[in-house]
Symmetry: C2
Subunit: 491 residues, 2 copies
């Protein structure tokens, strides 16, 4: 059954939560007195729709329903998750929690997006403190997986585990702190860096742009894939972490960071930073910068997914979840009717598959067809285990016809007819659709090979039998238009 989330407080963070829930199939009910809330959340949602579905290699569930409510009771009706993202003022949060608890389901999770307050502070004076936890996200909430979960002894262990499971189901990574602490983990680092950066600007060491470059051309790109400790472990080399720490430990005594000192936060400093920031980024609107950021994040996270590492490894396991628990999908015996071309790929076109125009780029058609071939191999039992056992299929030839265009975010589907699957030969005809529109065909001829000799050999009996089963089921299909054709060339 479709689950319902209530979003209390819209804006960039609340809107990001709304998008994350909606695109994962939840209904979302928003409470925000701001008359601009609907427009603001609509803008975040537009960004999410262009980036999140394609980040995944599996189709997301059908989008839930989004509604806006002036009345807290209506907004909370039926909600099993209530996410609070109102401004960082403790009294305001207490007031909102009281309102929420006078209406909500007693079993619902009340998650707070607070970046600073401890859950014990949030729970003060609440009717049911055990319902309130910190679930602190990172912007953009629809793309970044980190959620800091902070709880107290008021929260029941089963309640916490169930809340974490919901977050995981949304493609998030709940990082459960062992103890509560002001500002949790990540924002402590961010504050330390922010403080240091303000000094560097004030002292005229570098501009905002130079500081940003010092981050993104150096440790920033390292930290996208390994964090602080793993990076230093590698830097320490064969001598190991202890050796590294012996080297780096004494530096802590150096007076390098500005530490306790806080630069005076006056108009002069604000103007200096705002001016430099305009010079650095002013050529782009915020909306353009958001899209650039999302393109970059999707491209990098998908690059990490191909490496099965870091945020990419998280995405990969979430894809598996979306595909029903198997990495590639339903097994042959559970496929039902096989008499029609088999759906071997169903996905949204990701942002990193498109050219500067937003159209899917040439080589990604083959990327999609190759994924369809992989899925077909999985179906006939030539799966990862089989490949580890020393046999596989190699593509010998492919013929692609481009018939129509498709854009980032659109759902594509590939349906596959087996033209021949016998002995060492496997001949597939893939047709790619967006809705009813035929976008391209991909005809592939594969040979079954021994991975040791790299030469053709006979497949296993199970693979042969699976191919025979499909051949029999698809025997009635007409020979597809365009198959077996060559590029007509003048000689």
């Amino acid at each position: 059954m479709t689950k319902t989330a209530a979003i209390v407080g819209g804006g960039v963070i609340g809107g990001g939560w709304a998008a994350r829930f909606l695109l994962n199939g939840w209904n979302v009910q928003v409470f925000d007195p701001d008359p601009e809330a609907e427009r603001k959340i609509g803008e975040v949602l537009a960004n999410a729709r262009r980036s999140l579905p394609g980040l995944s290699d599996a189709p997301l569930p059908e989008e839930g329903k989004l509604s806006f409510h002036d009345d807290m009771g209506a907004a909370l009706k039926g909600a099993v998750w209530i996410q609070e993202s109102v401004p960082e003022v403790l009294e305001l949060k207490h007031k909102i929690f009281a309102q929420i608890q006078s209406h909500c389901d007693k079993g619902a999770v009340i998650g707070s997006s607070t970046s600073g307050f401890k859950p014990s502070e949030l729970q003060q004076g609440a009717d049911a403190p055990g319902q309130i936890i910190v679930t602190h996200p990172f912007n953009p909430v629809y793309l970044l997986p980190l959620i800091e979960v902070v709880t107290t002894e008021e929260n029941d262990a089963d309640f916490i585990e169930a809340a974490k499971a919901e977050l995981t189901g949304l493609g998030l990574y709940p990082l459960h702190l062992k103890k509560e602490i002001d500002a949790h983990i990540a924002d402590r680092f961010l504050e330390a860096v922010w403080r240091e950066a303000l000094w560097l600007l004030k002292d005229g060491i570098a501009t905002t742009e130079e500081i940003d470059n010092a981050i993104r051309y150096g440790f920033g790109i390292r930290w996208a894939q390994m964090g602080l400790f793993e990076t230093y472990r590698v830097a320490g080399g064969e001598a190991g972490m202890k050796h590294f720490m012996a080297q780096f430990g004494p530096c802590l005594k150096f007076p390098w960071t500005k530490l306790m000192d806080v630069p005076e936060f006056n108009d002069e400093l604000v103007d200096l930073i705002a001016g430099q920031s305009d010079e650095q980024s002013g050529a782009y609107s915020i909306r353009e910068l958001e899209r650039i950021r999302d393109n970059n994040l999707v491209a990098m996270m998908r690059a990490l997914k191909a490496q099965d590492w870091g945020a990419g490894a998280l995405l990969k396991s979430h894809d598996t979840l979306l595909k029903g628990g198997t990495p590639l999908g339903t097994p042959l015996e559970a496929m039902g009717d096989l008499s029609q071309p088999i759906v071997t790929l169903s996905r949204a076109v990701p942002l990193d598959w498109t050219d500067y125009n937003g159209h899917m780029t040439e080589s990604r058609y083959l990327d999609a067809f190759a994924q369809s071939t992989d899925r077909f191999m999985d179906l006939i039992g030539a799966n990862n285990e089989y490949i580890e056992g020393g046999m596989s299929y190699f593509t010998a030839e492919t013929h692609i016809r481009h018939l129509d265009e498709v854009r980032a975010g659109e759902r594509i589907e590939v349906r596959t007819q087996m033209l021949l699957g016998k002995g060492k030969k496997l001949h597939l005809f893939h047709s790619m659709y967006a809705g009813d529109k035929l976008l391209a065909t991909g005809e592939s001829f594969l040979l079954h090979v021994s991975l040791e000799t790299r030469r053709p050999c006979e497949p296993s009996e199970a693979v042969s039998a699976a191919m025979a089963k499909i051949a029999e089921a698809q025997a009635g299909l007409p020979y597809p238009e365009g198959a077996g054709s060559a590029i007509r060339a003048p000689k």
Copy 2:
């Protein structure tokens, strides 16, 4: 003429510098009394050879010569750049600089890899202080572009500019600090984060792995593409940077970070961290972690290159430099003999183009052929400007034959024969080689289109004339084997 760099002090950093110079065509002479220096630098170099050449979309210059020397004079002979990477002990560095200056060319740059010392400290007591600057790199030096350049008034402006130009020529980004400061820029941030992380561990808030995840699933991946200020500018939304600062400024008064306090650096803390790090990363050797890291960095940096952003934009402009100053390469009129198939792609297979076996993956053959087609279009004048003017070529059909395999790091070359280039039609036959070995062929049929109507139309006269010139020059070529063929299919 081939330039020579001297590396004084090997190890991970010196070795990284050696690899960066060597793979960019410099001769490298190493001075390091460590008997293990040759082995250690060899290992760094092996990592660099598998990752750097393919990071680039243009072929790197031929590798320079690497030699090891027991004698400082021999190591410095002919060197125009001397990179010092000895341990962080000021007296030792002074001693080494004195040795260097008694042998080196008076015009050579002496760059120090120091992460902590100011250049004025390094220059103390030197015979020629104006020769010494800070050029602080980031590990892995062969992949990450950031170099912090720090100078004093002793350094001549022309000398500094020339040094920065050399660094840019190596594909690096010299970030020249406006003033010297302890620990430069990036390491001030790193120290602040490191200090904070030690407290989180000591206080039992999270483990090393959880802290790493807090970084890489959240702000770390953001910082790989935008830094601190641009990220916050976006977070501030339409209200802008001033609004953001008004919100975030007061937080500086909160006692969030541990600031001045330094955790006691005792055996207990070291054991805690080393133990957690073993649990987190101990399943991999340091060598494996280095390769995983390099795979990730190459994949993410290439993803950013496709977006023309951040470190990817730097790589792209360095590729242009390698291609002789034009984004795609030499213009048609400067191409010389056109009677043979034209080299339209020459590059190393990058790490992100390969499967788990290290072989180039199926769809990347089409990626390479599509790049060859782009280069061919550029040659006949259907370049970016032409496309912006509203016309282009669309690929209608492609036929790929896979004939042999190729691995990451190998140099591939695509040679292109034009089978037809007349009116709206362009028919190309690409052959991909590794040395003399034919790996694959890609036959593509393209139509010239109006980007407004998305329908075929006649190309410009200049494009038609360029095609006619190539057609005439290639008229004597035999019709290539495999062209015009279809996948033989049973009906």
